[in-house]
Symmetry: C4
Subunit: 257 residues, 4 copies
């Protein structure tokens, strides 16, 4: 009983809530940054990135034990794909409900951010984000995200996910030219606000396509680096010992000796 997963409805609520809070944090901190630091776009993005990184880490801790804190349809899809043989991942039948919950939650989060800043509930973004180098950036950003998420998972280090994924997204805001959306649900949500973090609806499809390609590349990276699934018992996975289960991880392979 105590090892049964949460009921699907509770897990969907967790995904909707978590993705919604993430959208609120991304968009809300973007509005604050743009209003309060009007003279320097870099500073705006930096404030936005740090707030997003911290919020994302907290949200993963908030809903992780309930739903896995995917917060991202491509993570849900990859989770199913990587676990489909061992029955360790999300059920295929749950992928679409997860994606729907994430997207609906994200949109609600965008509306909440607009309202908290005294804006109309929905204002369609007019920020065009269409260019080859931006799509390349989304491929890179999403590949890195998927690689990091499942590298930790497959080597028994899931307990490090929250801080690590927050740090990754915060950094990727700055090292990609697209500011690293890397998430179809959040991308759609960001179309619902004509503020700093917005994206014009017409720019969304290509972003999502690039993100999907990036997810595939990320899965290939996971397969390259961690070809074997670590059968880590949760109890031992809790502390970050790099070496416990991954075949590649004996003393000789780790950084500092």
């Amino acid at each position: 009983m105590s090892t049964a997963p949460a009921p699907l409805l509770r897990r969907l609520a967790a995904e909707a809530l978590g993705t919604g809070l993430l959208a609120t944090a991304v968009i809300g901190s973007g509005i604050a940054a743009a209003r309060l630091s009007p003279a320097d776009v870099g500073l705006q993005l930096f404030e936005n990135a740090v707030a997003t990184a911290a919020a994302l880490a907290v949200i993963i801790l908030l809903v992780g034990p309930v739903s896995g804190a995917h917060l991202n349809p491509l993570v849900s899809l990859a989770d199913w794909w990587l676990g489909r043989r061992d029955q360790t991942g999300l059920d295929l039948a749950d992928v679409a409900p997860y994606a729907a919950a994430q997207t609906i939650g994200g949109i609600a989060g965008a509306v909440l951010a607009n309202l908290m800043y005294d804006l109309t509930a929905v204002t369609w973004s007019t920020t065009d984000r269409s260019a080859g180098h931006l799509w390349l950036s989304e491929v890179v950003a999403t590949a890195g995200l998927i690689a990091v998420v499942f590298a930790l998972a497959r080597s028994g280090r899931a307990a490090l996910s929250a801080a690590t994924i927050g740090a990754y997204i915060g950094a990727a805001y700055f090292f990609t030219s697209s500011t690293s959306f890397a998430n179809p649900a959040i991308t759609i949500a960001r179309a619902f606000t004509n503020t700093f973090a917005g994206i014009a609806p017409a720019s969304v499809p290509a972003y999502v396509l690039a993100q999907t390609a990036g997810a595939a590349l990320g899965l290939a990276t996971v397969w390259l680096l961690y070809p074997d699934l670590a059968h880590t018992a949760p109890a031992t996975a809790a502390v970050p010992h790099d070496t416990a289960t991954a075949p590649a991880a004996r003393t000789q392979d780790r950084l500092p000796r």
Copy 2:
């Protein structure tokens, strides 16, 4: 003997000291930011947010083992509420003394901040903070705080509280339009300084009301996500294994696999 709680007086001293230091950090860093970065309000808020986040994490570690590091009357109240059946929370009789110690400590911390910056001990704030979208922000900020605090507690991850709560408040400074007071004791304390972090006394009651509503919403979120209390032994709760006790947390439910 070694498992007995600290005497009430020592716990109250810890709450007063901790909340006082928090008020000092919030107000003091706000004064420094406003004086030293006069040209950019966003930068001021960012400096204020980072200093507050770091200080809050440290203060939770400083007094946590003594009093629980509630530092917030709504956390004390929620702690009693959630533990009232299992006798695992604060005694009802201790809620009011905790709230009093937090408020008195917070005011003393405001005075200390004023004095450290060579200001009169008390200068009533003239910063009006009264608007519907600000109250909405306080509801959201406090709901998130309560949800995060007790999500960690009920899933055996209290050892992550300090860093997580610091990160949450730091992020919420930026993603809410009210800059996330989320704490009646600190709100009252911030009325005692006419500086960056201040709030006009007339704006305090509505803020506290919004925070209280937010706390109720946060408790509902805890109940939604973590309906069962985790009976985690302290020793095993110390390392962050998400999966140990929460019914929802088996391998299949966690983020990265």
Copy 3:
């Protein structure tokens, strides 16, 4: 054999090296900040604070297992004082050598910072820092430092020291008006550079006096919060379980339940 302390000379080398690197980080990042961000003193202090916080955490990890990473004569003195009955602290005879190594190392670190920025090896600071509110700030900053260091130690959470103390100093740079020197050895070292982080030699004695008073206040705080010494075995102290040994720390006393 494996539990014997390092030889005194190696411990003194570690203290000199660690304090030297800390002085280099404090002063060097101050020079960079002042040169590169000339228009905003708040941004300069923020860059200085973040670099100092990160460097301090790293340095504590670098030399901690060798010498205890006191890096501060007042920490060495307090360590002796708190452990004098149980023989668990620094030997009284080692306090003066520790303080000398810290001070000499700090001065060498100041010289290195000057040289790395193409300045004369020693340039006496002309920055006057003499005022009652600055001394009050140094009392507060040092009291907080001593309280945090020994609160962690006495409750079996020394493994958290590096990150926590870095975070504390980074925050205190901003919430005290004196920018939180909180360390006589570093204060003296900062007299050797006429740059952002400098302090005029004439201002040093009062700063050190205030710091010493703050250390006494910090010890009183430790005694108030953690009257009993935790006899934690090193192996169990390694993971941060708040509750293991401190009499005050049973489940009911900790933050989130």
Copy 4:
């Protein structure tokens, strides 16, 4: 079988990928910072430093269990040197392939950064970085890096490497005048971009020479502080207990007591 290292080719792929991502993060965030914060070079460097620190920590976690996450020819060389007697380090025969993979990966990462920002794939840097005080800074930066990496490793705290090394490099960006390249592979890669993080090819050799001297100094520091190799079993090394194995680390020697 489960303790065998990963095949050499997979380890080389990991080193190439990891160093490539590091170069992308360093150079990409530098381009974003310079474009978006044109008015303040200090803010540019700060944005660059924070993004680099976060990305470096994530990358170490990403590839660490596979290849050790050296990401730096001097770390690979030092790893072989320190482990040559106990056969615990990299094989001498693998040092050159590691260095080649790191350098090739780094260059590819520079090209990727250029492309993500819509620049020509390769633009030779014209940023001259030749001066005695810069070389001194590279000696200091690299000595510190090597000392920190192997201090953690030799005292059974390798699990702390990712966050610690990220923090070190982030701080060193600001406390050294050279902005802490500290890595020959990344230095070479940075010649391939005429942007914020670039270095003119003619300035590379002296930087690499200074870094190599710094690595030797770092090894001397490791020998001074941690003369004995800790024979820590990976499983016990995973949690940060400072005191487990290093001869110098008994209770009395650690920081806060």
